[in-house]
Each structure stands twice: as C-alpha cells, then as structure tokens.
Amino acid sequence: MTATTAPEAALGVLPRSDGSAKYSHAGYTVTASVNGPIEAQRRDEHAYEAHVDVIVRPAAGVGGTRERHLEALLQASLSQLILVKNFPRSLIQIVLQVEDSPENDYVNTKLVQASLNFAIMPALMQTAVLALLSAGVPMRATATATAVAVVHQDGAKRTIVEPSPREIETAESVHALAFTSHGGLLLAESEGDFTVKEWDDLYETAKGICCRSAPAKEGMAMVLDDEESAGTDMRQFLRSTMESKVAADLHWK
C-alpha cells in the first residue's frame, strides 16, 4: 500500500497492441497500451505532426471530468516527448487503464470524484512512457514523475513521497512533478497552501527521485551514496526495466 514497496513493471503484457506495459507502485496499478502510428480521424489529423491521443480509464465507473483533465495534462506532456513531426497526419493512441488504486479507509469513497488526484499522476506517466518504449515509438527523451505531499506533524513539516489518500486529505499541499531524462521540468502541478521556498525544497526532493545523477562507479562514492539510494530512482528503474526486457528478448542469440 505505501511507498515503501518498490515499483514493479512488466512490458508487452497485451498481445494485440503495438506496445503495452503494466506498472504498479504506491498502491496504484496501471496498464497501458500504445497503438501507433495509425491512421488519424479527419478531425484529429494534423498536416505536420502526429496527434497524440491519451485515454484514461478509472478503476471503477466511467471517466469523468477529472479523467479529462488528466488526459489533457498527459497529452501535453507526452506530445513533447514523442517525435510527433516524424509522423504527420497520423495518430498515436495511448490507453491507460487504472486497475487498482489505494482506498481511503476513513471515508466512503465515491465512485465519481471530480477533484484532482495528483497521486495517480506518477503511475500514469511511468506506465505511458514504458508502453511507448515498448511500442518503439521514437521519442526525444523519457520522463519520470513523482508525487510529494507536505504534512504538518507535531509542529514540524514533513515531506511524504508517494502519499496515500489519507495523507493527501490531511496534507497542507500536494505536488506532482515530472522531469525529462535530461532533467528538464516537464510538468509541475501543485495545490494546497505553500510558499516559494517550500516549493523549491520539494523541487529538489522530487528531482532526486525522478532523475538522480548517475551513480559514480568508484567504490568510495558508492559507500557514500548508500543511504541516499534507499529511495527509488525512477529514471534508473525505467532503464533497468528496459534492459531486462531487452536481455530477455535477445536471450535466444
């Protein structure tokens, strides 16, 4: 349920789509399928670039306005990553099915909720990127995302990475940040009550999770890094997932 569990991912889980991925972390499980480039409908067709279509389906019920908002955010981010100019007049469709989401034991969870949920953003982003990699869609960079919450506890402020629904409810502010593999800030969504200084600190935390600088090979530095590497490094995780998939695929050689 909590962030202490390591993320898990599998590639190519759906046989019929061009690329697919399943990812679970912090209580969320998301399956994504990617088809593309395929023929675009006429209204979506763009003369110079591919149209990126993102569809988010919730774990229960049909998608509402919140899903539309998530789709808009993901669409804006992913079309920056995909080399859309390589496929004019075509469509790249990404379908994200949320399979499991953590429940808040304190309240009766309603089926349709209109308010934003930043905690699901990392799972959606990671799954989409993995599925795009699995489909072999050309991209100029990959992206990783994380969610961070600031809670007031015993008179001190504490930062929680990948917060649970209950922690989000009591948090002062919740943030979702995504970074490209080059370290650029791709997406920043925050709500709550905070100052510029606090946001700055969170930026550091989130960047450390999303794209930590490559670990030094020297034995000395490795020892120093040990306590820091207790957390997950998303960029490294994406990389190792892809590496193991490639190794498995090329096993017959």
Partner: protein
C-alpha cells in the same frame, strides 16, 4: 541588389502564418532597442484590463460579470437546500452547534470532507456557441470545458474559499435570538407562507440541511486565458452571494427560508490566478535535448491567437491577503522552458497581478 519583397497587410500575414507573425512582432527587427511587443500591442508582461461587476443577475443569490479584454464570463451562484435525509451515507455532525462552529482550523479541514462528500459546491462551465469560432453548436461539453470545471472545482476545495459552517442549517438556531424576527418565512418551493413564533423546544442541536451552491459560468465571449477570468468570476460571485436565512420549523418538520433576511457568505482570502504562456522561437518546439534551445518569451495573459501558438503554459494562484504571499496552486505543463528559476520568478509576477485584481474587485 535586394530581392523584391512582397508586402502583405498585417491581418493577412497573421492569418497565413501566425507563428512567424508573432515572432516578428516580438523580435521587432526594426529597432532592437525597443522592448518586445506582441501582436495585440501589449508588452510581454502586460495584462489586459480587468473589469468586474458584481450582482448583475437578479434571480441568482450571487453573480458577477468579469471582462478580461475580450474574454467575458458571467457567473451565477444559486443556493439550494439539501435536507440531510436525502444524503446517502450521511454521517451526523458530532457535538453541539457552538462546539462545531467555534472549532478552529481542524473544523475547517473536517468541513472540507463534508463539502467534498456531499458535493456542496457544484461548478459548471459552459463555453457558449459563438463565443469563439472553435466552439460548435450542439456538441457535448468539450475537453476544455471539462478541464476548466475540474480545475475550478479542485481549487474551490483546496483553497477553502467557502467554509462549510456557512452552508450548514441547524435545527435549533440559537433558541430565542434570531429565530423570531425576519418577517414572513417562505418554504423553499414558495408554496405557503407562515408566521409563527418558535417556542424553545429543547431538542439537541443537529444539522438538518445543507446549502448546495450551484456555480454556473458562462463564457459570453472567449479570447484566451479562460481560467483566470473564470476564477476571478467565481471569487467575485461568491463574495457577492447572499443566502436567505434558513431555519428548521419543528411543526412542519421542514426547513423554511426567510423572505427578507439574507446573510453574506464568509469568503476566506482572495486567491488570484495568473496565467502565462511560453512562446518559443522554433515552431513545434523541441523539448530540452541538451542542445542549445531557441529563445522563448513568457507572455502574460495570453489571448486566443497566442494560446494556439504556445504549448507550454503556467498558471499560479496566489493569495497575499495575509500580508505574506501564499501559493495556492501551480499548474505548469506542456514543455520544459519553464524551469525552477522561472517558476520562482513567476511568483513575483503573480503578486503584482494580485494587486491589480484586488483593485478591480472593489
């Protein structure tokens, strides 16, 4: 020898190739010493004049009309009573009225749960046909309208603009004091009238109903930057909202509203949204690949033409009413031009915007 140049009138140039048109305007090759100007004549950091007019609708409990340049939004707030027996899975509020109402910050947080669980705030946004060429008649709500209403809904809850204590209707509204006066009372359906003294039937305080606020926004004319305009309209309308005083009538066992007496909503703070779009020199900009990036301009309060040419945008909601600048929300998407430094710097721009909006609210 120079090649003969074709002279195009500006509107034609803008129509044929909008991106180079805006780029030429910003770079102003004629005189590099001049500050960059946009096609609409504004500087990069200039906003359009904001006009706010409150209570323009007579049948709503609160309303506002906001004009931001050519973007015009009409917002109406209408309260409706929701009896608790109609709420599925209703959990009674614990404690007496005094206890609950005097609760400090904790009460507010608990209240947010009530508002969210029972959906006491219902914002809806409609982009009227004809307000901009891209909105066609007879189609379901567009992705833009849905996204906007989600953002407004979420911000309404996260800022705690309306407190739930204004929306609760209690069973025993302070025994003698306020219950008596207030002229004629009328049933919410407006059927029969009644005038009677309420004798102190000593019953335990309990919440019998909630006010549900329907916040409807209509874009009369749409020229970019919809969220800033919509949010300003919501805040102005809520500050203007006066709900009738409602009380529990034990005889008929229903909630009745006063016909004459009205109570203002207690709107906490003044959060102000400030949006900017990033215009990149390269058309169909490339995300940070490590190589040298083209120039980019931050265009504050983008209009419709600019919005179609920009992919990256940032919206920051700030509230400086406590003296200190508190950020209520940051939304940045669609590119990597805005890094950490720009977000930090943008807080200053948003502060300036807050002062302007505050002046316009008066």
């Amino acid at each position: 020898m120079t090649a003969p140049t074709i002279k195009l009138p500006a509107p034609l140039f803008a129509k044929l190739s909008p991106h180079p048109f805006l780029l030429r305007n910003l770079t102003s090759a004629a005189d590099p010493s001049l500050p960059p100007a946009r096609t609409n004549g504004r500087g990069t950091q200039d906003t359009r004049p904001l006009h706010i007019k409150a209570s323009s609708l007579s049948h709503a409990h609160g309303s506002s009309l906001v004009r931001l340049g050519d973007t015009t939004v009409l917002c109406g707030v209408r309260g409706e009573l929701l009896p608790v027996e109609r709420i599925p899975q209703f959990r009674p509020v614990e404690g007496t009225r005094e206890d609950v109402e005097s609760g400090g910050d904790d009460g507010v947080i608990a209240g947010r749960g009530e508002m969210r669980d029972y959906d006491l705030l219902v914002p809806n946004i409609e982009l009227a046909t004809g307000s901009a060429p891209q909105f066609l008649p007879g189609v379901p709500p567009t992705a833009l309208a849905q996204t906007l209403s989600t953002r407004v809904y979420s911000l309404l809850h996260s800022t705690g603009l309306v407190g739930v204590r204004d929306l609760r209707v209690w069973c025993n509204p302070k025994k003698d004091g306020e219950g008596k006066e207030g002229g004629e009372d009328v049933k919410m359906e407006g059927a029969e009238e009644e005038e009677e003294e309420q004798d102190g039937v000593l019953e335990e305080d309990r919440v019998v109903a909630y006010w549900v606020l329907y916040i409807d926004l209509l874009f009369v004319s749409f020229d970019g930057n919809p969220f800033d305009a919509a949010w300003a309209a919501v805040v102005a309308a809520l500050r203007n909202t006066r709900l009738p005083v409602a009380r529990w009538d034990p005889e008929r066992e229903m909630v009745v509203c006063s016909r004459t007496e009205r109570r203002k909503l207690d709107v906490r703070g003044l959060p102000v949204a400030c949006t900017a779009a990033v215009f990149e020199e390269k058309e169909l900009g490339e995300v940070g690949t490590g190589v040298v990036e083209g120039r980019h301009w931050l265009l504050l309060d983008p209009d419709r033409l600019e919005e179609t040419l920009c992919r990256e945008a940032i919206t920051m909601v700030v509230d400086c009413s406590d003296g200190e600048t508190r950020i209520k929300s940051i939304e940045k998407q669609g590119g990597t031009s805005i890094g950490r430094e720009l977000v930090r710097g943008f807080a200053g721009i948003a502060e300036k915007r807050w002062q302007e909006v505050k002046k316009a609210m008066k």
